[in-house]
């Protein structure tokens, strides 16, 4: 097929937008979209032609967890304080048979795990090293408050089962735990810090890891057992 033929391109774009272009033909067209700018223009035009149709559907309110998940994925969760949560949190911290991580004072720059030093992109001013109960490093958390960034690196591959995730929380005396998002199973990720998290990180004493349903806590506060805790130190 000659994809340079404008009429054919337009026909494919229309069926792509309507959704009747499927299977291999859809895949081929999607490749073409990235290669031929005119393709994207045609798709945009058809999308604009037809957009009024679904605007006429009766709206359906999505459940609140959708917005929470979006926030969590983009910014590591936003605080949703509730007075009882702090008490629950503290009772866990005392009563639960948790493996409390050893506080480790590290010097910056740290490189405890990588055989090959990686380029440091975040000059950390708050650091925590999260260990398992055997003292083996699991995650390194580095926050740059000025740049409002937090970098989290998995020191080794940590794979919870399919139904669960490890979620990281900022613990301050005067505030409910606030999520820093789901911990990476491997590799390194960077998340922006909200102004609120930035302020909280500046005065927080510790980080904690809880086990949550896959995708993270459905409530915005820890719901599962706290398995690890680590002191947050100034780097």
């Amino acid at each position: 097929m000659n994809y340079r033929n404008p009429e054919l391109l337009d026909r494919l774009a229309a069926e792509y937008v309507v959704g009747t272009l499927r299977g291999r033909a859809r895949q081929r067209f999607e490749r073409l979209l990235t290669e031929v700018p005119e393709c994207q223009e045609r798709v945009d035009t058809w999308q604009a032609h037809l957009a009024a149709l679904p605007a006429g559907l009766e709206p359906v309110q999505p459940p609140p967890r959708v917005w929470r998940n979006i926030q969590d994925r983009l910014w590591g969760g936003l605080p949703q304080p509730g007075r009882t949560a702090l008490r629950i949190w503290r009772s866990w911290a005392v009563a639960a048979s948790v493996a409390v991580a050893v506080m480790v004072v590290v010097q910056w720059p740290i490189d405890v795990t990588d055989p090959v030093p990686e380029r440091v992109e975040v000059a950390a001013d708050r650091i925590a090293l999260i260990h398992d109960e055997d003292g083996e490093p699991m995650w390194v958390v580095q926050a740059n408050l000025e740049r409002q960034l937090v970098a989290i690196r998995a020191a080794r591959t940590v794979t919870p089962d399919d139904d669960h995730a490890h979620e990281l929380w900022v613990i301050a005396d005067d505030h409910d735990p606030v999520s820093l998002g789901v911990l990476p199973e491997e590799g390194r990720l960077e998340r922006p810090l909200t102004a609120e998290l930035q302020a909280l990180m500046a005065r927080a004493q510790a980080l904690a890891v809880s086990v949550e349903p896959a995708g993270g806590s459905p409530t915005g506060l820890p719901t599962g057992p706290v398995i690890l805790e680590a002191r947050l130190i100034t780097g």
Partner: protein, 178 residues
């Protein structure tokens, strides 16, 4: 839905304004959820598609400009493509019992609300199609049906359905062009 406000909020998302993003979600989320739900049919899939769509909207807000159509057209396009991708991943055929024949979406009680996004012009152009052409295009677009699914639903040979879609779209193209 107020399409001008949607546009303004999306423009602010490009500057990293999270409050604008939250407004955008509140304004367009329920409409986009309805759209996605009609395509994927399952609430859990629809929630995931909506979530992924908004994450993409935030990350790609910088790609949006008025030349690409209205903010609603751009956002609904993202949600629709994600919904169709979801069906493709699940490789599950739609249970045809779940299909609702779309009512006249451009003339229902929400007509006033959608008029701002070219609804009136689209309604005129859809009127110029044959009833079968109009019905197949709207079914495929709103319900996310393939040619084969439309054919089964309408108990019509697939070749006939393909030709209704193709000819209907050709007629729409002629009519919609400025």
């Amino acid at each position: 839905m107020d399409f001008d406000r949607l546009h303004e909020r999306l423009a602010r998302c490009r500057l990293g304004d999270r409050q604008a993003f939250e407004d955008l979600y509140e304004m367009a989320g329920p409409q986009l959820f309805a759209l996605v739900l009609r395509i994927v049919k399952r609430r859990d899939w629809a929630e995931e598609v909506l979530q992924e769509s908004f994450i993409q909207i935030w990350h790609r807000a910088g790609d949006y400009h008025a030349g690409r159509g209205s903010a609603w057209a751009w956002m609904s396009g993202i949600a629709r493509f994600r919904a169709i991708d979801c069906l493709r991943r699940q490789r599950e055929s739609v249970a045809l019992d779940d299909i609702e024949e779309p009512v006249d979406l451009l003339r229902g009680p929400l007509q006033e609300a959608v008029r701002g996004d070219g609804a009136a012009h689209l309604a005129e152009c859809l009127d110029e199609l044959s009833k079968d052409q109009r019905r197949t295009i709207v079914l495929a677009f709103i319900e996310g049906l393939t040619h084969g699914e439309v054919a089964r639903h309408l108990q019509t040979p697939i070749g006939t359905v393909k030709s209704w879609v193709r000819r209907g779209l050709a007629a729409l193209r002629r009519c919609m062009q400025p």
